[in-house]
């Protein structure tokens, strides 16, 4: 491996992993606990092709025991090497994934991801959806963690409505754009509306 490529893979991690990942976790937790809010998450410089927010989220959530699926539009040797060095997470098929990363179109179809079992609904995938932007709300959200209702930019409505109907099974979503982060747990009801 050439030094340049090597440093793309080995560089760009958290400067201070305990502190940066604690901040990252706080952002992820707040995003998931209060669907519709936009959090900032930073500290990572991933290889070209994914957002800094998605990179920081991967560093925060992944370890050797979490399988990660990369959709073809984000998958690259650099990203695989970077993920491996910084988290040890194995790259796996969509059907085995604990986490999946990619654009909305590339993540389809959703029914290939694990939705948990009635005994263990938590044995399901969490999808990290790379978004062009998060500042054009098109959906109204209601449910746990939301007082009255909230708004969020979503790439689709029907898929999320279907996922919510599977509750307590289903997948959960993070949305990343630049250094912005939002989330949509399976417990949230989604309707159209700005």
């Amino acid at each position: 491996m050439q030094a340049q490529a090597r440093n793309t893979v080995y560089g760009g991690g958290f400067a201070n992993p305990p502190v940066d990942s604690a901040h990252g976790f706080r952002a992820a937790m707040n995003a998931m606990a209060r669907p519709g809010t936009i959090q900032r998450i930073s500290g990572a410089t991933p290889p070209d092709g994914i957002s800094p927010a998605a990179g920081a989220l991967l560093l925060t959530l992944c370890d050797p025991e979490t399988g990660v699926y990369l959709t073809p539009d984000v998958d690259s040797d650099d990203l695989r090497g970077w993920l491996t060095f910084h988290t040890g997470a194995p790259v796996v098929a969509a059907e085995q994934a604990d986490f999946a990363l990619g654009s909305w179109a590339a993540l389809m179809p959703l029914d290939r991801f694990r939705i948990g079992t009635p005994e263990y609904p938590d044995r399901s995938a969490t999808l990290i959806v790379e978004m062009p932007e998060l500042d054009a709300p098109n959906a109204r959200l209601q449910g746990p963690g939301i007082k009255d209702s909230a708004r969020l930019t979503l790439p689709d409505l029907e898929e999320f409505q279907h996922n919510a109907m599977l509750y307590p099974l289903g997948v959960d979503f993070f949305f990343t754009s630049g250094s912005q982060l939002a989330a949509l747990p399976r417990s949230t009801k989604v309707t159209a509306g700005e």
């Binding site: 030094a3 340049q4 080995y10 060095f85």
Partner: protein, 150 residues
Amino acid sequence: MNTEISARDRKGWMSLLASADEARLSELWQGFGADPAFDWLRAPEAGGVMVRGRMGGSGAPFNLGEMTVTRCALVLADGTAGHGYVQGRSKAKAEIAAKIDALMQTSAAEDLRAAVLAPLAAEQAARKEARAAKAAATKVEFFTMVRGED
């Protein structure tokens, strides 16, 4: 930078460094004298790895228990990356191991091998030999007391 390093060679020195006695490694490293400038790619961190065995020694694997390991990665000024994975919880030992791993990929390799790796390997072999010799002295020699020929 020498890119003709075989995985086998590298495995050899990394393995030797992993189980080296920390005090002795540190002494030999200081004797070598060079302390190259570097940047951390991954600062030293202590962790655990799950050790596996096999049922009946040869069958399906099972998890036996964890052991402590400390790892780090660094890059020298010329861009050579070095990795340290060592047994135990010593960050200083992991750092020395990573520096040696990096320098072994440079023109310093032969000097470093003579100053640090060769003595470490010889001492490790001597320790093993001494234990094996003590074990051999406890091997039972059976004497036949009565032999029923007819």
